[in-house]
Symmetry: D2
Subunit: 254 residues, 4 copies
C-alpha cells in the first residue's frame, strides 16, 4: 500500500518592515502552508502576498491562528478563556478566508500556533473551543494538531477531518510526547535518521522513544520549521529522501 | 409613492475594558448597524456580542472597516496606499463575515469609518480600492457612502448596489458638502427641522443649504450618531416623526 | 498618637477616544494617584493631562506600571519572565518620570497594576524584579504593595520605603488574604463598617476575618476603586468619616 | 585645523521575535547610536540590550523617537498635532533615559525617526514641538536634524546644541535638499566619492549638487544606514578613509 505524507510549514509570519522566514523558497518543497492571520504575526499585505505565492506553487492553504500578541509572536501563554479563544479563531480564519475568496482559492485546513497549539494539545476546553470554531465556520476544513492530542480528539468528536502532526526532526518520549527542546537529545539533525523515523511511523505506526522503546503514533503531516539556518536544505533533503523511499508527498486533500 | 429611509449607526466600537456607545439601546431605533471589525475599534468579543444583539433586534448588519489605529479611533489620516486600503478592508470584512456565519446571519452592507470614509469620499483611487474590496468579497453587499461622493461613483461603476448617506442633524453647503463641524451653523439640534430636512430630501430630492439656496441630494440612509448625551432621544424622536410623516423606516434590503 | 492613612487610586487609564474613570472628581478626595504609563492603559496625552490634574489638586504622583496589554487592561496573566518584568517597569516608570520632569513635579511612589500586582504579591522572583526596577531607577521612590505580600518583603530587603496597601471595602480571610471577589461576602458596601475596619487596622494592627477571627495587618494606604457607580460618593464619605475619627488623611511622603 | 565628524546610526529597531539590523557589528564603526524607544520599533528588551551594547563599545547613546506605529515602522505620515508630537517624544525619551539610568550611562542626543524626522525638517510647528520636548526633558541633550532644516532652527532658538546631519551616500539638489530616493542619481555607491563629498563639506562648507553647482552645508554627523547588504562594509570603508584623510571620527560630545 502506498504511504502518503503531507509537509506543512508556518508561513506569512512577516510583519510590516519585519521579515521572518523564507516563504517563497519553502513553498517549493512543502505541500501545506499554515498562514498567519495578523494576530500573532502577519498583516493584510503579508497575508495577501503569501496566499498568492502558495497558489502559484500549488501548495494547500491553511489558516494559522494564534494568540493576538505580535510582541510575543504568539508563543507566550496568556490567560484566555475558551470563549475568547473560540472568538479569536473565528475572527482570524474569517480574515484569511476573505483573502482566499479574492484570490479564488479554497482554504484546506487550520493549524493553531504556538501557545494556542500547545494549550489545545493538552487542555480539553481549549481544544473544544478551537475545534468548534473551525467546525462552525466551515465543517469541511481539516484540523491539524499534535498526534495524540486533545485537539484531535475534540475535532473527531465534532466530525471534522483531522490530520495528526508529527515531527521528523524531534525525538519522542516514552509517553509519546516530544522531548522538550531544552534537552540535549531533543533534536534530530541527521536527515537520514529523520527519514527513518517518518518511514517507521508510516509503515509500523510507531516511533522510537529516547529511552529505547517505541510508542504508537499516527502520522498524516510533518511539521517543517521555516526558521533556522538549515531549514531549506533540511526540507529539500527530507522531501527527496521520502520520495526515494516510495512515500508520496502530497497535501491532505489530494 | 411611499418614501423609505434607512437609519444606520456605528456599533461595536467598544474595546476590551473600554465601553463606547449605547449599542443595545440604539438597536431599538435604527435599521442598519455598521459593526467595527477590530481595526479602528472593536475586538472579537465585541464583534460577536454586537452581531448577536443586532440579530436579536432584527437590525441589518454591515461591516464598518477603518484604518488599523485603535489609539486614534480610525479618525487620523494615515498615509496608506490604495492597495493597502484594499487589503485592510478584505481582512476586516472577512473577519466580520465569519461571525455572521457562526451566528447564521447575512451581512447586508459595508460602510467605511472615519478617515477612511472621508478619504474615499473625495479621492478616486481610495474610493476605487474600497469599492473593489467590497465587490471582490461579495458583489451582493450594499456599499454605503456619502451622498454625491467618489465612493458611490466607484461602487456604481463596478455594479454594486450603493446607498447614499445623508445627515439629518448636519447642515449642507452650497456645493452639497457638509458644513464643517467647527462652524457654528454645522449642527441641527431641532428634531423638527431635522425631520423636515429628511422629508425634503425624499420628496423633492434637494436639501436647503446654509446660504439659503438648495442643492440636489439623494437620500437612502441617515447616519445616526451613537455618541453624545442626546443620541438616543434624538433617534427615537427622529424615527417617530419620520413614521408620523408617512415615511417607512426600513433597512436598505427590505 | 496620631493615626495617618493615605488614600490611593488608579488614574490615567483612559486611552485615545476611550474614557475610563472620573479622575478629576476623585482627585478631590484621594492623596496619591497611581498613573498608568501607556502599557496596560493610558497614552502620552492621558499621562500628561493626569499629571497636570494631580499637580493642580496637590495629590502625590506615582507610576502604575502594568503588563503591556491594553486589550486585556493588564488584568490577564501573561507568562513574562522576571527579567522581562524588570525591563517593562524601567520603561514605564521612565516614561512617566519624563512627564513629571516637564511638569516640574516629583514622582513619589510606584504601584504595580492588575496581573502584575497579583503576581508580585505571591511570587518571589517577580516581586524581586519589580522592587529592583524601582530601586535601580530611583531608590527614593516608595513601593506600594499588598499588605503582607512578597512585594513588600522584596522592597524592604533592598532598602526601599514600602507602603502596605489595605482595602476598606473588601473582607479578609483567616490567612490575611482578601476574600476572592466571586464570594458573596467579598465586598463591604457599608461605609460605616469600612471605616471601622480601617480604624481597627490603625489602632489595633488587626483586621477582622470572615470566619470571625482577626489577623495582624499593617495599613499605610487604602486602595480606592475609581470605577463603579458609587466610587466617588464612597471615597467622599470614607474620607470624611476617617477625618471625623481623628485619622489624618495624607500622602505617604507628607 | 582638525576636522571632526560623527557617524550616527539607527539601532535597537528589532521587535520581539523580529530582528532588523546588525547592531553589534555596526557599533564597531559608528560613534553615535540612535536607539528606538518602543514606539516605531524596539521594545524594553531590545532597548536594554542595545544600551548595554553601545556602552560596551563606548558609543554615544541617543534617543530615536518616532511615530507610535510599529506596523508602519514609523515611516508613514500620520496626522498628529504638534502637542501630540511633543508628548510622544517626552514619553519615548523618558523611557530610554530610565534604561540609561539603570546602566549608568548618559544620554547624549535625540534624533527623530522617519516620518517624524521628515515632518520636523520642513514644518515649523512640528520642529518646535520636537525641540521643546527635548529641551524640557534635558536642555543638555544634543538635537540631531537634517542640515539646514526647520528642526535645527527650532533647536538653536531654544538654546539647544544641534548637530547638522549630512549623508555621505546620497546626492544633493540645487536647493540643498536630498535627491529623492526614487531618482536614479539619488544614491552614491562609490565609497571614494562619498568620502570626497564629506571632505568637501568639512573643508569648504559646501556640497556638489546633481545639476553641477554647489550649495552651502554644515556637517556635524553623517547618517549611516544600518540596513542593506553592504551597510557594514560601507561604514567600515568610509570610516577608514575618513581617518586616512585626517578627519577625526568622534561623537559630538567628545
Amino acid at each position: 500500500m502506498v504511504q502518503r505524507i503531507d509537509l506543512n510549514c508556518d508561513m506569512g509570519e512577516s510583519f510590516g518592515a519585519y521579515t521572518i522566514g523564507s516563504d517563497e523558497k519553502l513553498l517549493e518543497s512543502v505541500t501545506s502552508a499554515n498562514i498567519a492571520c495578523g494576530a500573532h504575526a502577519g498583516d493584510p499585505t503579508v497575508m495577501d502576498r503569501t496566499i498568492r505565492l502558495a497558489k502559484e506553487h500549488n501548495v494547500s492553504i491553511g489558516a494559522h491562528p494564534g494568540f493576538p500578541d505580535i510582541a510575543g509572536f504568539g508563543r507566550r501563554m496568556i490567560d484566555f478563556s475558551p470563549d475568547e479563544i473560540y472568538r479569536m479563531i473565528v475572527h482570524q480564519i474569517g480574515s484569511l478566508q476573505a483573502f482566499c475568496k479574492v484570490h479564488g482559492v479554497q482554504m484546506q485546513h487550520v493549524k493553531p500556533h504556538g501557545a494556542m497549539y500547545n494549550l489545545a494539545a493538552r487542555n480539553h476546553d481549549a481544544a473544544d473551543a478551537v475545534a468548534r470554531a473551525v467546525y462552525d465556520i466551515n465543517a469541511e476544513l481539516v484540523l491539524f494538531g499534535l498526534a495524540g492530542s486533545e485537539l484531535l480528539t475534540a475535532g473527531r468528536k465534532l466530525g471534522l477531518t483531522v490530520a495528526s502532526e508529527v515531527f521528523a526532526d524531534r525525538t519522542y518520549q516514552a509517553d509519546g510526547s516530544l522531548t522538550p527542546r531544552g534537552r540535549v537529545d531533543a533534536m534530530i539533525n541527521d536527515v537520514d535518521y529523520a527519514v527513518q523515523q517518518v518511514e517507521r511511523m508510516l509503515n509500523e505506526g510507531v516511533v522510537r522513544t529516547v529511552n529505547g522503546g517505541s510508542v504508537d503514533i499516527e502520522a498524516d503531516t510533518i511539521c517543517i520549521h521555516g526558521d533556522g539556518k538549515h531549514a531549506i536544505s533540511f526540507v529539500e533533503k527530507l522531501r527527496a529522501m521520502l520520495e526515494r523511499a516510495g512515500i508520496v508527498v502530497s497535501s491532505i486533500g489530494d
